[in-house]
């Protein structure tokens, strides 16, 4: 069928598969797949969910090993044992993942580094190199994108993030095979066209492209050749010019399905009572939605359809008032994002279904499981869930069957309004047909169905379609005027009717980064100002504090906390919290004031062993998937217990070199100030280094960083080793300052270190940390103790003031987030 045109190129295909198979238990994800992709060829890959596309892609980029078969890249066979994501990248295979794989807290340039390390030389110039690389790559595909490569990805809009993702993979000079998994889902028309042009240009330059999409029209437009997968096998391989969309659907489903275009909407429905009303800001003019209607929410993706659905849910659940929305009935919700918004993974099918009735009911209703089960049965019948699957844990069901259970959950609630959030996403055609029938039945039974879909063709099932644009329903299309073309052209008409450069403007111009004294900058200055303010007050109260001697005295007490807080900061950078870090500093204090004095060698070994045990917590937490908080809480008892067993009462002495160090001055700068400065420089340079970037990346988006080939175990080992080292240094300074040890001396540092990290401007989740801020946070907390002393406040109140300060800062931060 295609030999004539492509035969010369196929002689040297970029990719050649022969008999690739992969099974997961009884499930054959890939069976005997054989095909080739030539240089310069653009191939569309389609298939229902579970057809084996993702498995195939994982095999191609080295994440999954096939059970059998041959893989050839550029004519050379790949040894499966030595194939990995890194190796795949080396030989020029790049993938743009469907779920965005950027780290939000890293800058655009740092995201380029995480995915393609090894460039930019050894010195600090690596950063500049990646900034130039990111800028050039983005400009090559999407001109005038308005993306600052030094800004964190979190400050970018969704389309901009997708552009970064595409540019990161697409511009690689070594690129030979580019795999795009649903790349255009959030791009507008202009950017989609730029992407198509870029793909065409890369293909013309000899790159092979595999384009995966559920949007069949788009596949037909982009690709010359289409591969259809079904049940792990290749069901169809042909040129798009000769295959119609219905033929593609038929090949995916394995049977000739009724053409969706032909299912006509049931016109002339008699409108029931008004169940929901929408007004500004959701609709231009008041809009009444009736019982018995199926209402579609259309528009380009991300135009406010899902937000509208959520607002309806909140209004119907009665827990929040939603401006512009009135619900006159109860609501139930069917989530399309099953894993994160739908299933309860520990439960079986029955429990997952019956919760629909239980959760919305009174809190102290008495449950009778057997009765609940028999009451659920008719609903599970209605969604056509096979009876033999009903006792299974929900996660053992296929995606389509899970979705049916979620539908049953919504029906069991017997609500008046059924809200559907793209419920047919990623389910196969047969399940889709079941859903269309169910939705029709629900409407005929007098429910109001409100349906958001990402597939335009599904709106043909609706009585009315609300066309969303920029968060508002701009137009209403009635059954008479509904057709796929009409909806698509109306969507784009709305888009064009707005300002032409809407997408660029939508890129959140973020007043934050603009002026020199913007809100972000002000917030970053808070810890520094706080420290200066507290110190100023102390200096006014006691003039001696402003002398070098006074500073040394004040800082000496602060040094251990500064160091512990810097250690805690690296743990927080990984979205974890260490509750044992203070006790560990106490243990280091005890070890250094006992063994290190009399037996320096043994003392050093003991300290290193303790550090090793501390660092091992990281991989343990990572490998077993257990919460760091509880593990480190347990560990804190181990550290304190060891220290207490070694030295039941405070005592010991400092090694001579250590107490000498505490009296050291460099050009009149006292040791304490030097220690704070050194700690800050060390932490800041670790954090800004390439290693620090990867560690923060793991805190923000661990899976994505792991897919780039970095080891999560090594990262967590490193993270806890760094934290432990800082804590160990803190223990040594405690010995130097106090010339004695007390196992309880460090315990108060644990909460204080978390408080210092938070005050310093780090986020407790998401891998955003600020070393200099943390130093100031720790100094402030330590100085507050001195300040209270100068003010004559009893030390009894120290803990309460520090705890209260932590809460106050978090409250302020939370209110700031709410306002934004």
């Amino acid at each position: 069928m295609i030999e004539s045109a492509l035969a010369p190129q196929l002689a040297h295909p970029v990719l050649r598969l022969e008999g690739i198979s992969k099974a997961y238990g009884p499930t054959r994800a890939n069976q005997d797949l054989s095909f080739s992709v030539a240089a310069g060829e653009i191939v569309g890959l389609i298939g229902a969910n579970g057809a084996g596309k993702s498995t195939l892609m994982r095999i191609l980029c080295g994440i999954t090993l096939p059970d059998a078969g041959r893989l050839e890249i550029g004519g050379t066979a790949i040894d499966p044992r030595h194939f990995s994501p890194e190796r795949a990248r080396e030989i020029g295979i790049r993938i743009v993942h469907q779920e965005l794989s950027l780290c939000a807290s890293l800058t655009v340039a740092e995201n380029f580094y995480v995915e393609q390390p090894g460039q930019g030389g050894f010195g600090p110039a690596w950063r500049r190199h990646y900034e130039r690389l990111a800028e050039a790559s983005l400009a090559a595909i999407f001109p005038e994108n308005g993306i600052h490569v030094r800004r964190p990805v979190a400050a970018l809009s969704l389309p901009q993030r997708q552009m970064v993702e595409i540019a990161r993979a697409g511009v690689d000079p070594k690129l030979r095979l580019l795999i795009l998994d649903e790349p255009s889902s959030s791009l507008d028309m202009r950017r989609s066209r730029e992407l198509q042009n870029f793909i065409a240009a890369r293909a013309a330059a000899g790159v092979a492209v595999i384009f995966i999409s559920h949007k069949l029209q788009e596949v037909a437009a982009v690709a010359k050749r289409v591969l259809v997968m079904r049940n792990g096998r290749l069901a169809l391989d042909g040129e798009t010019a000769t295959i119609t969309v219905p033929q593609m659907i038929a090949a995916m489903a394995g049977e000739v399905v009724q053409d969706l275009e032909q299912t006509q909407p049931q016109s002339g429905v008699t409108a029931g009572r008004v169940l929901a009303e929408a007004d500004a800001p959701w609709a231009r003019s008041p809009l009444a939605l009736h019982a018995g209607e199926i209402i579609g929410l259309a528009g380009l993706e991300g135009s406010g359809q899902r937000e509208f659905l959520r607002a309806l849910q909140r209004a119907g659940a009665g827990s929040h008032s939603s401006a512009g929305i009135t619900c006159r009935g109860s609501v139930s919700f069917v989530a399309g994002d099953r894993a994160t918004e739908g299933v309860f993974p520990l439960w079986d099918v029955y429990e997952n279904a019956t919760i629909g009735r239980i959760a919305a009911g009174p809190l102290l209703a008495w449950l009778r499981p057997m009765a609940e089960r028999s009451a659920a049965a008719p609903f599970l019948d209605a969604v056509r869930l096979p009876p033999e699957r009903r006792a299974s844990p929900i996660l053992e069901l296929s995606g389509g069957n899970q979705q049916k259970v979620l539908m049953a959950r919504a029906l069991i609630a017997a609500a008046d309004i059924l809200l559907l959030d793209d419920p047919t996403r990623g389910v196969d055609v047969a399940v889709k047909r079941d859903f269309y029938a169910l939705i029709r039945e629900a409407a005929e039974a007098g429910k109001l169905v409100i349906w958001y879909s990402s597939e335009t063709i599904e709106f043909l099932e609706c009585h009315r379609v609300l066309l969303f644009h920029e968060g508002m329903a701009r137009r209403v299309l009635d059954a008479g005027t509904l057709s796929e073309d009409a909806i698509v052209s109306a969507s784009f008409a709305e888009q064009d009717a707005g300002t032409p450069m809407k997408a660029a403007a939508k890129a959140r111009p973020s007043p934050a980064g603009s002026g020199p004294l913007s809100r972000d900058t002000l917030f970053a200055l808070v810890p520094f100002l706080t420290t200066a303010l507290i110190f100023g007050v102390i200096a006014v109260l006691n003039h001696n504090a402003a002398t070098l001697f006074g500073i040394d005295l004040l800082l000496s007490a602060a040094v251990p906390l500064v160091l512990v807080a810097l250690g805690q900061m690296f743990v927080v950078g990984g979205s974890e919290i260490d509750l044992g870090i203070g006790a560990f500093a106490g243990l280091a204090n005890v070890l250094s004031a006992t063994f290190l004095v009399n037996q320096p060698l043994f003392g050093t070994v003991a300290l290193l062993l303790a550090l090793g045990a501390y660092a091992a917590l990281g991989p343990l937490i990572q490998a077993r998937g257990i919460p760091a908080i509880v593990v480190t809480l347990g560990a804190s008892f181990v550290w304190a217990g060891v220290g207490y067993a070694l030295q039941p009462t405070p005592g010991g002495s400092a090694p001579g070199w250590l107490s000498a160090a505490s009296g050291f001055h460099l050009a009149a700068i006292p040791a304490s100030l030097l220690a704070v400065m050194l700690g800050a420089i060390l932490a800041a340079s670790l954090n800004a280094s390439r290693m620090g970037v990867v560690l923060r990346g793991f805190g923000a988006n661990p899976r994505a960083v792991a897919q780039c080939g970095w080891s999560p175990l090594a990262a967590s080992l490193l993270r806890y080793a760094i934290a432990g080292s800082f804590s160990l240094l803190a223990g040594l300074t405690m010995t130097a300052i106090n010339t004695a040890s007390d196992i309880n001396a460090g315990s108060s540092y644990t909460l204080l270190s978390v408080a210092a990290v938070v005050i310093g401007g780090s986020a407790l989740i998401g891998g955003r940390i600020a070393p200099l801020g943390v130093v100031c946070g720790a100094l402030s907390l330590s100085l507050i103790g001195s300040l209270l002393g100068f003010l004559g406040v009893s030390t009894d109140y120290d803990a309460a003031v520090q705890g209260g300060l932590l809460i106050a800062i978090l409250v302020l931060r939370a209110m700031e987030v709410r306002r934004a």
Partner: protein, 318 residues
Amino acid sequence: MSRPLAWLRAHRWSFSAIGILLLWAMLSLATARFSLSSLSGVASSASFLAVAAIGQMFAVATGGGNVDLSIPSVITLAAFLTMIVSGGSDAGLLAALPLVLSVGLATGAINALLILWLRIPAIIATLAVGYVLDTAALLANRRFTTFAVSPILRALASAHIAGVPMILLLAGALAACSAALIGRTSYGRTLMALGQNEVAASLAGAHAGRIITIAFMLSGALAAIDGALLSAHTGGAFLGMGRPYLLQSVGAVVVGGTLIFGGSATALGTLLGSVLLVLIVTTMQIAGLSGGVQDMVQGVVIITVLAAAGSGVSRRTA
């Protein structure tokens, strides 16, 4: 997987039951000193732990790695308030108990407010609230004069009925009620749903705020009651008396088979987990190990149980 093993997996409390039997058998064989009277001592200590741990279990069940770290501070403060306000009389107890209970409930409500409304991670919120309560206990310590205990409270905390400690009966009844609340009421079912997947539960119509607030208030109230009973049992209140319950309450919950990430909780398991932990500590005391080593072993046991119960993947497949 063989059927007995599958049964064990489905009833995670059975692991701690087996642990108790093994340790008990070992102790009885190894030492004559482990008599029936020391068994009663173990039962009594375990019951005090279980009351606090069952509260902790509700907090843990809310999911997301939530833990209530204010429990030790509530226990200490409640003990001081009980002693000071009751003044050792039953009449005083009438004033003390409502006060102590409302301190516990208020602490739980504040914790929940910080966690839900301000989105502060549970451990930070509860730890910071605990610090504030510690200061209150410090101040209460200054005004502490009497060591007299109300007779009713002493009876509840220390009396025996037919050789069985009263407090064990109380803890058993509490575990039974909690088991019913978790397994047989819509509150319990919805709490487990929230613990597994908060978004999904909210979309199914659950009032997340109300349910999580109740869980933390239960935790605060049980810690407060525990503190009052402990003050009667030990015949006084002292700073740091709640401290062992920081680790042990979490430990009893996870050793008992409740999932640390929430969504599945067992009250019976928590009761058994409390007994097992206390039995371990007793064993170490009989063996003459120092307090430091006892702490160390407890820490290691809890980390080991967590590591063994962990899923082996980072985060659940939710």
